[in-house]
């Protein structure tokens, strides 16, 4: 049937059915639910958002907003310093948890807890610990030294550091777990041979562990960076972006503009992040969809 096909190719009508096997017709039907969700809740919102953010004046306004510049810097600190520290600790701990000890097995079960429990109550728990008057930490600083402890969340640098610490607390178990699987995949013979040759632990790490794990490690680091860009909870629930909006990251800034009813600014701030996000996403897709 030489009928020109229009946009509704997805609907198996008479002109198509002669060319499609029943299995392919079912394939299209079964794929349709996801396609509908994708069109209605990804394509439409993204296009609509881009349309809202189209005016160049939005970007001028962002450029002139000191909070935006601060949030961009904070995001960079969060990603470049926070994530690398987290991944280094995860790499180190993966070696620790790969040890064959019963108590380490039990510890690894406990170690997963931050990942298994929802972040809201635990972040709020940390928030109260850091309370300058009533919090546990300043209480002990006072009883040990007799001095009042610092007003933790009132100093932007300290507050951002604490937000990074909370983020690490929450997601460290996940990355450690993945790096452990990577480590356990290394053939044990290599280590035994190295043992016979009298290699030090550093040499074993440098010449056996690291070469087999570096691809995994880099993938994990990049993936963690992309996801951390969307980490709203660690900052919002701990500092609320304060003091004086100095600890915002891009994820919380978009929501702040939204709450102030500046939707086009919110979208524009997200569009500004895209030049950094898209190359990372492209790289990850190349890595994962082979």
């Amino acid at each position: 049937m030489a009928i020109t096909l229009s946009g509704d190719q997805a609907i198996p009508g008479p002109p198509l059915s002669s060319r499609l096997t029943p299995a392919q017709v079912w394939g299209i039907i079964l794929l349709a639910p996801y396609l509908l969700v994708f069109l209605a809740f990804v394509v439409y919102p993204v296009c609509y958002g881009l349309w809202l953010a189209r005016a160049p004046s939005n970007y001028v306004a962002l450029y002139n907003d000191p909070i935006f510049a601060r949030a961009a810097v904070n995001t960079l600190i969060f990603l470049v310093i926070g994530i690398n520290i987290k991944m280094l600790i995860a790499l180190f701990l993966s070696g620790f948890f790969a040890q064959q000890r019963t108590w380490i097995k039990w510890l690894s079960v406990i170690f997963i807890l931050p990942w298994a429990v929802p972040s809201i109550p635990t972040i709020l728990s940390v928030r109260f610990m850091l309370n300058p008057e009533w919090g546990m930490i300043n209480h002990y600083i006072f009883s040990l030294t007799g001095d009042d402890g610092p007003n933790w969340l009132n100093d932007p640098t300290v507050a951002l550091t604490m937000a990074i610490a909370v983020h690490i607390w929450k997601s460290l178990p996940f990355w450690t777990l993945i790096l452990i699987t990577g480590r356990l995949a290394i053939s044990h013979d290599l280590f035994e041979a190295a043992e016979v040759d009298g290699a030090s632990w550093w040499q074993k790490f440098r010449y056996i562990t690291w070469p087999s794990m570096q691809t995994l490690y880099v993938t994990c680091t990049l993936l963690s960076m992309i996801w951390t860009l969307g980490d709203f909870n660690s900052v919002y629930l701990l500092t609320g972006g304060g003091p004086a909006d100095l600890t915002h990251v891009l994820a919380t800034l978009g929501i702040r503009y939204l709450r102030l009813d500046q939707l086009s600014l919110a979208m524009a701030s997200i569009v500004c992040a895209m030049p950094f996000v898209l190359p990372l996403v492209y790289f990850m897709m190349k890595r994962l969809s082979r």
Partner: protein, 288 residues
């Protein structure tokens, strides 16, 4: 066995063990302190909670009684909020499983034309940080007239959960041998029969993992829940927890008690399905 070596060896072993403990103890404390702090508040009367003691003088379950009897302004809708969280999490789990299983079967087993493209689009969505999609999603739900309706949160969470679900299920179904489908076709099975009788039973472990993943994702979600739902009787528990902070003199011991109750189900589910989670998810999360 050389005897002179034995003593030296055991000293070395003690040293190794001590070094391991030197790592293990800080790791234990680091992990447990925020959780213990929450638990401590939950079992402390208000005066003890604010006094910085490591164990209350009079541990009590009074806070739990207040929560369960809804005897506080912030807790007056506790049960309905708990119910909202449950309904939304279960719906997201069921819908995600349905959509993702159908899509993975279609792409992996039926080799539907364009399946590869759809998979790449899904993967792309998976990598875009959810907080970035939240802003346009909020407006879109407004346009669809779904704000303050549970469907808005359910559909948003299904959108976020399905890409990863499709991807993991597609990887898992690629591993099933083609001969299975061929043999079933030879026996005259229709596509739907293959899906129901061959595919679903074999995929069970991955389906359990993905269902759990979607349920936990929805139960734990704060950002979307707080954007899309605002009415006190429509919100989920995490939003209610966040609302505690609205007051200057928040009842923190009750906040931590509610938080503790809220955190128990996902932790229990996680540990119950840990076997599936670790296999199904870590293999999927990063392919090296």
């Amino acid at each position: 066995m050389k005897f002179p070596g034995v003593r030296q060896f055991s000293w070395r072993e003690v040293g190794t063990e001590a070094r391991l403990l030197l790592i293990g103890i800080p790791v234990f404390l680091w992990t447990m302190i925020p959780i213990y702090h929450m638990f401590l508040f939950a079992i402390s009367p208000k005066e003890d909670a604010f006094s910085g003691k490591l164990w209350p003088d009079h541990p009590t379950l009074h806070n739990f009684a207040i929560v369960f009897k809804q005897q506080h302004y912030f807790l007056r809708d506790f049960y309905i909020q708990f119910w909202n969280s449950t309904v939304i999490a279960v719906s997201v789990g069921a819908l995600t499983l349905f959509i993702a299983t159908a899509a993975a079967f279609s792409i992996s087993r039926l080799k539907v034309p364009g399946g590869r493209t759809v998979l790449n689009l899904a993967l792309f969505t998976y990598f875009i940080p959810a907080a970035f999609l939240a802003v346009p999603m909020y407006r879109t739900m407004g346009n669809y007239g779904l704000l303050n309706n549970h469907w808005s949160l359910i559909l948003a969470m299904v959108t976020i959960a399905s890409p990863y679900a499709i991807w993991v299920l597609k990887q898992a179904s690629d591993k099933l041998p083609v001969e299975l489908d061929e043999a079933a076709v030879m026996d005259g099975a229709t596509t739907l029969q293959i899906f129901r009788l061959v595919y679903l039973p074999l995929m069970m472990p991955s389906l359990v993992a993905i269902g759990t993943y979607a349920v936990l994702l929805a139960w734990n979600e704060y950002l979307y829940a707080f954007l899309l739902l605002s009415n006190d009787r429509e919100i989920t528990l995490p939003v209610a927890l966040g609302n505690f902070l609205a007051a200057d003199d928040s009842p923190w011991e009750l906040l931590m008690t509610t938080g503790f109750i809220y955190a128990l189900p996902p932790a229990a589910v996680y540990y119950a399905f840990r076997r599936y989670m670790v296999g199904g998810l870590t293999a999927g999360a990063v392919k090296s």
